[in-house]
């Protein structure tokens, strides 16, 4: 691979310039066509909180810490540990994208160019990096990714993410992605990112809406229950 291609790959990493602590406002189109608005709060790659914003979803959260995730619902006293089978499709796709560090965690096995699109075959450098393989298609002229195919260690396609539009091309922040689950349902999910806030940036902090009234129902991103403490209510 030429150094030019290596530079292209490194530069195409989405959310590359994302801050360590951030909040995303987004929505996806539900299976029944309804808009599902939500927020994703992240600290580093290990800690994330998904807060559902629709009225019917009030009080519902998904908390991820490392590879483990819990669902918090108003009808259930305790957080419910979510097996991979329960991973929420849209959130997972986005979360996966946010965690993706192409330049750091992957090496390119091959690169092919056709009609201005370079397709990289990427392989995780270390075991345990998710996903183990990625097929990454980049628009050479604009330096922006077009498509990502997340693949299993056995090189089976698992999820397809298409970047439809960008809200910040420079920072590689997409505006709309379409995620397709290739393993299970095969259905496509459209995710629209409305805004990305840097939580370490005081100006962003000020732009936050006031917290919902029963603030206790919404744990702050830093106070995720530890995996061993399921029986307790999240503080």
């Amino acid at each position: 691979m030429t150094p030019a291609l290596a530079r292209l790959l490194a530069a195409s990493d989405p959310f590359a310039a994302a801050p360590a602590e951030l909040r995303l406002e987004l929505s996806f189109v539900g299976a029944n066509g309804a808009e599902v608005p939500l927020e994703i709060w992240r600290r580093g790659d290990d800690l994330a909180l998904v807060r559902f914003l629709a009225e019917r979803d009030l009080g519902k959260y998904v908390v991820r810490r490392g590879k483990e995730a819990w669902l918090l619902a108003p009808g259930a006293k305790n957080p419910v540990r979510m097996s991979p089978a329960l991973a929420p499709a849209g959130g997972a796709a986005l979360d996966e994208l946010l965690s993706l560090r192409l330049a750091r965690d992957y090496r390119a096995v091959s690169a092919e160019e056709s009609r201005g699109v370079v397709t990289f075959e990427l392989e995780a450098l270390a075991p345990g990096v998710e996903p183990p393989r990625v097929r990454w298609a980049v628009d050479r002229a604009r330096g922006l990714p077009l498509r990502a195919e997340f693949r299993t260690a056995e090189d089976k396609p698992r999820r397809l993410v298409e970047f439809k539009s960008w809200q910040d091309e420079r920072k590689r922040v997409p505006a709309e992605i379409v995620a397709k689950d290739l393993l299970r349902t095969g259905s496509a999910l459209t995710v629209r990112i409305r805004a990305l806030f840097d939580l370490q940036d005081a100006s962003a902090r000020e732009a936050l809406p006031p917290p919902p009234a029963p603030a206790a129902a919404a744990p702050a991103p830093g106070t995720v229950p530890s995996p061993g403490a399921k029986d307790q209510r999240p503080p």
Binding site: A73, N78, A85, L86
Partner: protein, 417 residues
């Protein structure tokens, strides 16, 4: 010779070798009784199966969004999406129809059930209305605990009935709490704590490993919807299904989002298969009975003719026509059939009543859970049909030997010893 005289003479001839006649009668009677009892068993099985299907969750009619029903296709146990939003109005229209005892709404769910100690098992669930299901005659086969309360539970007081296998896999008993996780129609997840009100069986071993039932309100809370998947219509008389189907279709015609009205029989292809299977067995058994009776009867008929060759020669010599000889012999067979069938009907009646009085239990059929109380049906058609069949069979069996006897050369027959 008038038919009456032929019949009289034939009856006399039967009395000639009483032991042989008794034996033939016994064969015919046993055959008839076997048919009657088998028919009773088959009818009992059909009726039981039908009642189990209708009152075990199918209802007589199902109303579902036509598009959702079409998407569901042949996979009947796949949950229909909760596509019926205006189900309350639809129900009001349906409950006004004749023969309708109640219309219950169902919300189908799939998801994971988790116990407090972290065990998790996937489930298929249905949100239902216990008060209406009771009115529809649906049965809840409780093994433990109690049935769901009739009233919709308040938030936080949700309860569920878990099928045996599911409760066992989760390691929970009545009174304990499990958390249900399911996907909402939008595709997000939701979770709900439910108290196990009772442990039930669906009657189907396979389904018992994953079935649960909860009040419609709880199911809707879990699925975050006000809609339902379908409505089930209960009738006061299964025979009114066709009429009610037409009435429901007429009442629901002309909606913007068309509804599919499906009778129970179409939602239970299994019923048709079992029916065909039983009918096949019945026909097979009937064939065996007929063959046995034909073999036994034609043997005795031939024997009784062989014994009487000289007499037949005499009758021919003094002016009995060939047709008269044949008619006489066929009449003897018809008598055997009629008397044997009569005895067989009595025997079959006795057997059915006796078996029913004995209170026998059948082991559970394959895939089912509970043993079945044997209650053979009395099928009038089987009595009449069995008797006619026996007469017909004997007459047919007699035709050839009778024709042969009628064609004997008189002089040879007279000299026959």
């Amino acid at each position: 010779m008038s038919p009456l005289e032929i019949a009289r003479l034939a009856l006399r001839n039967l009395a000639r070798n009483r032991r042989r006649t008794a034996l033939s009668l016994a064969v015919v009677a046993a055959g008839t009784a076997a048919l009657v009892v088998t028919a009773g068993f088959v009818r009992f099985s059909f009726d039981g199966l039908r009642a189990a299907m209708i009152h075990g969750g199918l209802g007589h009619l199902e109303i579902a969004d036509a598009a959702a029903a079409a998407a569901r296709g042949a996979a009947l146990d796949r949950p229909a999406s909760p596509a019926l939003a205006d189900w309350r109005e639809v129900r009001r229209a349906l409950e006004a129809l004749p023969h309708v005892t109640a219309v219950g709404a169902n919300l189908h769910l799939m998801g994971l059930a988790q116990s407090a100690d972290g065990r998790s098992v996937s489930f298929v669930g249905v949100g239902a209305e216990p008060d209406r299901e009771r009115r529809m005659g649906f049965e809840v086969r409780l093994r433990e605990g109690s049935d769901l309360p009739a009233a919709a539970p308040a938030p936080g007081a949700d309860a569920a009935l878990l099928a045996r296998g599911l409760a066992e896999s989760l390691g929970v008993r009545a009174g304990e709490v499990v958390t249900l996780v399911a996907t909402t129609p939008e595709g997000t997840l939701n979770a709900l704590d439910v108290t196990v009100a009772g442990v039930v069986t669906t009657g189907v071993a396979e389904l018992d490993t994953r079935f649960l039932k909860l009040p419609l309100a709880s199911a809707q809370r879990l699925a975050q919807t006000d809609s339902v998947s379908n409505l089930l219509v209960g009738l006061d008389d299964t025979r009114a299904t066709g009429a009610a189907l037409a009435a429901a279709r007429a009442a629901l015609a002309g909606r913007a989002a068309p509804l599919a009205v499906t009778p129970w029989s179409e939602r239970a292809p299994f019923y048709g298969q079992v029916r065909d299977l039983y009918l096949g067995i019945f026909v097979f058994l009937g064939t065996i009975v007929v063959v046995l009776v034909v073999l036994a009867a034609s043997n005795t008929l031939v024997m009784s003719i062989m014994e009487r060759v000289r007499e037949i020669g005499t009758l021919r010599a003094i002016g009995t026509g060939r047709g008269q000889i044949a008619a006489l012999l066929v009449a003897e067979a018809a008598w055997l059939g009629a008397l044997g069938a009569l005895a067989g009907a009595a025997l079959g009646l006795g057997a059915v009543l006796g078996l029913n009085a004995a209170g026998l239990r059948m082991p559970p059929p394959p895939g089912a859970v509970d043993p079945i109380d044997l209650r053979l049906a009395l099928v009038p058609e089987a009595f009449a049909g069995g008797a006619l069949l026996m007469i017909l069979v004997l007459v047919l069996a007699a035709l050839l030997p009778a024709a042969r006897a009628a064609r004997l050369a008189i002089v040879d027959a007279l000299g026959h010893v």
